[in-house]
């Protein structure tokens, strides 16, 4: 990995020195290396400040702004999807309820699942990674910030389109996995399934772009000294997730496009009458769909591993074992997809294999849990809100894991397939495995992002009500499922006897709503009314993001850190502490080698530009056009191509400025 190949071993004479612009040469060159308040720091602030006005706002490519935009937008969509969930529980609270009609109900559960999975869970995790990872590894921005900016706009436009379609009675209605033939040309009437296919194309393109950005950032932009052995666990989790995304997401994008070709161009991929196969879609979807669960779960494991050492006041027990567990979980998750298809006519022997694989996932997960327990047992606990949510995660995830073992075996799965038992299981693992750690992360990093700490009392109220609400809402669904209540029915008769438990579930949902309201009040109170500022490291944590002010300066670090341990802030003072000599006048960072993180080259980050926004907008126009017209599929490609061209085209002023700082390898 570290060989230099065809590179010259000696510096070449600097041929280009003469061509440098005379005007630019007048400005004295200022290099970084001094702390806040210095001349270099002032210059850095100026270099990294955003351009004014609307165009400047739309052009921002700073990872912190992008990460924050992702998280805020994801919570906005989650709120809408949560309201849909509430409506469904309200509908089912009583027998023979006709508050909602069957067609609208179909759209509701499809939208709820699609939104939660594609517009909330994955983007919110990627948003956190975008914000936290560069701070944690000691760099100034991500590797391809304009690509992530473009990804954000694609995500926003995709989500708004989906909700626009829903508002005009064109919401997808065949479940969050849009099975064919229900979503195919024959039964998927109108444009409903088309919008689902579009949304998937958007959100997966977004996910892939951010994943490539994060992977490259982690591998090449770590602070000198942060070898892979020293890398924080949250960064490991983000790396594993991003690599998984790169291997899994193309599948669902491909699949959704093939369905779209069936609908639009008359191909026959999923049409059994013409040699196609409906089951093919299930394979394509679940080969992506199972790893998808882990795109959500693994970052959450990263949150937990970041939070526990801080509140146990000691380094993580079994750091290496946790890294290996994360990687193993990533690999195993690609071998589980058929356990979503136990009720199809696949060979029984194959199903047994997938049962075994499904059980194996318990091994790395258990290993991590034991490491966390050991860390907690050997530490001095500080019971703050983030830590409470971590404890909630243990409890709720454990129940979800137990029902997961039940569903992993074929005979049990066949009994409860498509019943509320599955709904209970998936909500326990997703809420337990992702939402609890997400809230923990939110309380934990909130002071870093906003400079203010969320209220503890309201935080504890939020936790306890949410914990009770979630269990009250979803535990009864296990029993309803065992009693035979199927998923996706819009109403049921009183004679089924499902009413009392459904009512309990609805009450749980109301408690959830109250807890969310308390959370919202806490947010508003803290952001708008709290005067007290948080310090750089309010929890006394050990990783690099806590070494800079809260909120961090636009350039993150006035001098990039040099790292010699896993918790640099807990380590005794080192001999070499920071990097100096990068430009303070262009947006410059340092690349390091992949394994050992030795300094390699200086790197000029891309400047903010409007073109990523324009590109995302023109891609949106193209995709919408292609829903209604086949020629639109071809002609609509021209504007995005132009936008990408302008995006790439060198900016003369920027090039001149960068040339002053150029050194040939």
């Amino acid at each position: 990995m570290e060989s230099v190949g065809a590179l010259p071993s000696r510096p070449r004479p600097r041929k280009r020195a003469r061509t440098r612009s005379a005007a630019a040469a007048h400005r004295p060159m200022v290099r970084d290396g001094d702390g806040p308040g210095s001349r270099a720091a002032e210059e850095l602030e100026r270099t990294w400040q955003e351009k004014p006005g609307l165009v400047g706002w739309l052009s921002i490519n700073n990872h912190k702004t992008l990460g924050l935009r992702f998280v805020v937008t994801a919570f906005f969509f989650a709120g809408l999807a949560g309201v849909m969930g509430g409506l469904m529980r309200h509908q089912l609270a009583t027998a023979n309820s006709h508050l909602l009609g069957p067609d609208f109900y179909n759209q509701l559960f499809s939208m709820h699942g699609t939104t939660m999975m594609f517009l909330f869970a994955v983007p919110v995790m990627q948003g956190f990674a975008l914000y936290i990872v560069p701070l944690m590894i000691g760099t100034r921005n991500t590797a391809f910030p304009r690509m992530s900016a473009c990804a954000y706009w694609l995500y926003l436009f995709g989500g708004l389109l989906l909700f626009g379609a829903f508002a005009t009675n064109t919401g997808p209605d065949a479940g969050w996995f849009e099975y064919v033939p229900l979503a195919g040309p024959q039964y998927g009437i109108g444009k409903r399934a088309d919008f689902w296919n579009m949304l998937v194309t958007y959100s997966e393109a977004m996910g892939l772009m951010v994943a490539v950005d994060i992977t490259t950032t982690i591998l090449k932009l770590r602070a000198p000294g942060m070898s892979l052995r020293q890398m924080p666990l949250f960064v490991w989790a983000s790396l594993v997730t991003s690599v998984m995304i790169i291997f899994a997401m193309p599948l669902v994008m491909l699949g959704a496009n093939l369905v779209q070709f069936d609908r639009m161009l008359g191909t026959h991929f999923f049409n059994p009458a013409e040699g196609g196969d409906a089951l093919l879609w299930q394979h394509l979807f679940w080969f992506f769909g199972h790893p998808e669960v882990y795109f959500i779960f693994i970052p959450a494991l990263g949150f937990v591993s970041a939070i526990i050492p801080t509140f146990a006041r000691r380094p993580m027990f079994g750091h290496d074992a946790i890294v290996l567990s994360l990687v193993t979980t990533g690999f195993l998750s690609f071998g589980l997809w058929v356990h979503h298809m136990f009720a199809t006519n696949l060979p029984e022997l194959g199903k047994s294999f997938f049962t075994a694989m499904s059980f194996m996932i318990a091994i790395p997960t258990a290993l991590q849990i034991f490491c966390w327990i050991a860390t907690i047992a050997g530490g001095r606990l500080v019971m703050r809100t983030p830590f409470l949510f971590v404890l909630g995660f243990f409890f709720v995830l454990m129940i979800g894991g137990l029902t997961g073992i039940m569903l992993g075996s074929v005979p049990l799965d066949l009994q409860v397939h498509d019943t509320y038992f599955v709904v209970a299981h998936l909500h326990y693992v997703l809420i337990g495995g992702a939402v609890f750690p997400l809230f923990a992360a939110l309380y934990y990093w909130f002071p870093k992002v906003t400079g203010k700490q969320l209220g503890e009392t309201l935080g504890k109220w939020h936790f306890w009500l949410f914990f009770i609400g979630v269990n009250l809402t979803f535990f009864p669904l296990h029993i309803l499922g065992l009693e035979g209540m199927p998923r996706r029915i819009y109403t049921y008769g009183a004679e089924t006897g499902w009413e009392p438990l459904s009512m309990v579930s609805a009450v749980g949902q109301v408690i959830n709503d109250v807890s969310t309201l308390i959370f919202a009040i806490n947010l508003i109170r803290t952001v708008f009314f709290k005067k007290e500022r948080a310090s750089a490291d309010p929890w006394g944590a050990g990783t690099l993001e806590w070494s800079v002010a809260s909120p961090p300066p636009r350039c993150n670090f006035f001098a990039l850190p040099v790292v010699s341990s896993r918790e640099p802030l807990w380590a005794p003072p080192a001999e070499v502490t920071h990097v100096q000599g990068l430009s303070a006048q262009i947006r410059e960072g340092l690349t390091t080698t992949v394994i050992d993180a030795l300094p390699d080259t200086r790197y000029a980050y891309p400047e903010p530009e409007i073109w990523p926004f324009v590109a995302a907008l023109s891609v949106t126009i193209w995709l919408v056009w292609s829903v209604w017209s086949v020629p639109g599929f071809v002609w609509g490609l021209i504007p995005p191509a132009l936008a990408f061209l302008l995006w790439y085209w060198p900016n003369k002023k920027e090039a001149k400025e960068e040339l002053r700082w150029e050194r040939e390898p």
């Binding site: 990995m1 570290e2 230099v4 065809a6 590179l7 280009r16 612009s21 590797a143 391809f144 690509m147 490539v212 950005d213 992977t215 490259t216 090449k220 790169i246 997401m249 193309p250 599948l251 491909l254 093939l258 070709f261 069936d262 161009l265 191909t267 026959h268 991929f269 013409e274 040699g275 196609g276 196969d277 093919l280 394509l284 040099v562 070499v576 920071h578 990097v579 100096q580 340092l590 690349t591 992949v594 030795l598 300094p599 390699d600 080259t601 200086r602 000029a604 790439y648 085209w649 060198p650 003369k652 090039a655 001149k656 960068e658 040339l659 700082w661 150029e662 050194r663 040939e664 390898p665």
Partner: protein, 223 residues
């Protein structure tokens, strides 16, 4: 050989392989990097990693299109289920031309690594001509598939497989045009040579993926 000797040798190799030909130097409690190069080729550049990510994404998509081809072939009673196997002529011509295009591509990449602007321009022009030729041949390939995309599952999978590769082909040809033009936009920064070298790297991907896809499209319906 003792474990220690192996360790020493590895350590020595790692020291030699430390990519920065101009090292960072220690100054007091700081690491001074002001003399480090501002760009690097191959895996030293971030562009290489981004490119590798893109190639993986597309490689996965291609791989699964081939899987889908054989999945559908497996469940079909007759294959092709409609139409007849594609004519060999144009696809094979394409294979020859695309393999030959690797030569100017290699020379363009080499010229970019040597940062020789005149040679880069020359070979990018040659690459562009190859790209145009390949796009024309590709057009004839579509006319010689002997099946329509809506004739049946066979037609669908063949069209989409060829279509995806064509999309990659055309995209990279357009990229080559743009990069050729960029060499005329003064001033040319050193990092543009990295972009050109990486675009050549991507072209190898287009060439290499065509070999299995050619085999599947042209012989999947024959053997």
């Amino acid at each position: 050989m003792g474990a220690r000797a192996v360790n020493d040798r590895q350590a020595a190799r790692r020291r030699e392989a430390t990519p920065a030909s101009i090292p960072a130097v220690r100054k007091g409690d700081a690491l001074d990097v002001s003399e480090l190069p501002s760009y690097g080729f191959a895996h030293r550049s971030l562009m290489w990693w981004g490119n590798a990510g893109m190639m993986t994404i597309e490689g996965v998509a291609f791989g699964f299109m081939v899987v889908i081809y054989f999945y559908l072939r497996d469940i079909a009673r007759v294959w092709p289920d409609a139409g007849s196997p594609p004519d060999l002529l144009w696809g094979t011509v394409n294979l020859g031309v695309i393999l030959a295009s690797a030569v100017p591509n290699y020379l363009a990449q080499k010229a970019a690594q040597d940062r020789s602007l005149p040679r880069v321009r020359t070979w990018l022009y040659v690459c562009s001509l190859f790209g145009i030729a390949l796009s024309v041949v590709r057009w004839f390939e579509f006319t010689a598939l002997n099946v329509r995309w809506d004739d049946g599952a066979y037609g669908s999978v063949v069209w989409v497989l060829l279509g995806f590769h064509s999309f990659n082909l055309v995209t990279d040809v357009l990229d080559t045009f743009v990069l050729t033009a960029v060499t005329y936009s003064k001033p040319v920064e050193g990092k543009r040579f990295v972009d050109i070298a990486e675009n050549c790297g991507y072209w190898y991907f287009v060439v290499l993926t065509w070999i299995p896809i050619y085999a599947v499209i042209y012989f999947g319906a024959r053997v």
